[in-house]
């Protein structure tokens, strides 16, 4: 009985964290799904979804029910176990990073001293899921999409890591809470503008979003890696994508935009999360905005941009940071 008593607080904490993570994943997908279609509509001078509810606000709920009711089609020549595994693998790893994001001083699941690495490690599993899905569909378009995704993600992971490392050198820690706390007078976006720009570009490429959405380029590859997926297995990919967007935007907020700092509200240890979410959704709005404004890049342009510009610039930036930190 005593043992149960001692582990009960920890158990309750784990359950609350899990529920919170699920709420964020599904709530975020609902909000972003609606916002993306609405914003896309208005950017293209059309109203977007209007029929279901006030200004189509229930459209995503109805879409969700439709997708859940749809048949799961498995191609005859597909590798069935891997075909079914891929959407789960794309969706499941997004929960671990959500536990580590410091929404405010006291709203954080766990704070461990390698927080940044955990987030990047779990975010990188997404590309394996895309590759498995694309290969097991046994479809040329899917395979091409998966290959592009691998080339793109492996390349853009490097500038992303190096630009974040510049901030890590300034704060001497991988812990997300300490990094957010270290920028109380000045946000790192002012001290590390180049690293921020590089991170933003790499972030768009890592989440496979336009103008870098080569893995699912619909004008060349039908729908890329998820051509053969239907119903819920397709929606798991989409849920994973929106959750990944949320995670990379949160990392940008923690590393460059001062975490939960802002004008203090009452009970700031908890209500600081409002500022945090405001910054995250401002970045997400930016992602949607450029998706519907710029045309898709060509694949060689994409790879050249990473290897010939982003990586050298991020390395130079890191070098300058190290020298400056050492001298001060």
């Amino acid at each position: 009985m005593e043992t149960l008593h001692s582990i009960l607080p920890e158990l309750i904490r784990i359950v609350i964290c899990a529920i919170g993570g699920a709420v964020i994943v599904f709530g975020n997908a609902l909000v972003m799904g609606y916002a993306e279609r609405k914003l896309a509509g208005h950017i293209m001078l059309r109203p977007g979804p209007m029929e279901v509810g006030w200004h189509g606000i229930l459209q995503l709920v109805v879409d969700g029910i439709k997708l859940m009711g749809k048949q799961l089609v498995v191609p005859k020549q597909a590798d069935k176990p891997l075909y079914m595994l891929a959407p789960i693998l794309a969706f499941a790893p997004v929960f671990a990073p959500l536990l580590l994001i410091p929404f405010s001083d006291k709203l954080q699941g766990f704070d461990i001293d390698v927080g940044m690495l955990v987030i990047l490690a779990f975010a990188s599993i997404n590309v394996l899921a895309i590759l498995i899905g694309g290969w097991s569909s046994n479809n040329k378009y899917s395979l091409f999409g998966a290959f592009r995704s691998v080339a793109q993600n492996v390349a853009y992971e490097i500038p992303m890591l190096i630009s974040l490392l510049a901030v890590v050198f300034m704060t001497n820690t991988f812990s997300l809470r300490e990094i957010a706390a270290a920028q109380s007078p000045v946000w790192f976006v002012l001290l590390q503008p180049l690293a921020f720009l590089i991170y933003i570009v790499a972030m768009v490429a890592e989440t496979n979003r336009a103008p870098f959405d080569l893995p699912e380029a619909e004008s060349e590859l039908t729908a890329g890696f998820h051509t053969e997926y239907s119903g819920m297995s397709f929606s798991l990919f989409v849920l994973g994508e929106y959750a990944n967007m949320f995670i990379v935007c949160s990392v940008a907020t923690v590393f460059f935009l001062g975490g939960s700092s802002g004008i203090p509200l009452p009970y700031f240890e908890y209500t600081g999360a409002l500022w945090f979410l405001l910054k995250v959704y401002a970045l997400m709005f930016f992602l949607v905005w450029i998706r519907w404004t710029y045309p898709r890049t060509r694949f060689d342009q994409l790879m050249n941009f990473c290897w010939k510009y982003l990586i050298p610039f991020s390395l130079v930036n890191l070098l300058i940071t190290v020298v400056v930190v050492k001298l001060i």
Binding site: I7, A121, V127, L128, L131, W135, S136
Partner: protein, 174 residues
């Protein structure tokens, strides 16, 4: 606290099983794709063991590096002409079999000798905390030579890849 020890024990055996199952899959699968995914499972198990040993840093680096590595290996495997119904079994015959046995036994004997000579301390007497600082200081001071030698191996691999790629290109041009 006893409960946590049980959980840790279960996790340890879980990671062990994962590692061995993955290794078995990697060796016995008939499809290249399945074999490489088996390798991924095995490496995940090893990452779990690092975590169990109290070094989340190593565990996370393991995941971060090997997910990318496994993906590239699959891409290379598929591009080198492996159709879904091509069996890997024909690689295990003749000269290949001999070389495979030679390589495996060399690796096994080297590891066996190394493990046999190591004195394992119980977990309670473990030196250092295996945190980033500890790992970094050991790599760059105590084991500096080994660290540099590993990077020489990587350099050799890069040069080899460049030579192979250039050779292919020049042949086409002539």
């Amino acid at each position: 606290m006893i409960v946590f020890e049980y959980i840790a024990e279960i996790l340890f055996y879980g990671f062990m099983i994962l590692t061995f199952m993955g290794g078995f899959m990697a060796v016995r699968s008939k499809l290249l794709m399945h074999a490489v995914l088996g390798l991924a499972v095995s490496l995940f198990g090893v990452a779990g063991l690092y975590f169990f040993l109290g070094s989340p840093f190593l565990a996370m680096m393991q995941v971060l590096i090997y997910v990318g590595a496994v993906c590239i290996m699959i891409v290379m495997g598929v591009m080198l002409g492996s159709t879904p119904d091509q069996l890997a079994t024909k690689n295990f015959s003749g000269q290949n079999l001999l070389l495979a046995i030679l390589a495996c036994s060399t690796g096994f004997i080297a590891l066996f000798v190394a493990i046999g000579q190591t004195k394992f301390a119980p977990a309670a007497q473990r030196v250092g905390d295996m945190s980033i600082r500890f790992v970094g200081e050991n790599l760059l001071f105590k084991y500096c030579l080994a660290f540099e030698l590993i990077s020489v191996v990587l350099l050799t691999a890069i040069i080899g890849a460049i030579i192979l790629a250039r050779g292919g290109r020049e042949e086409k041009a002539s």
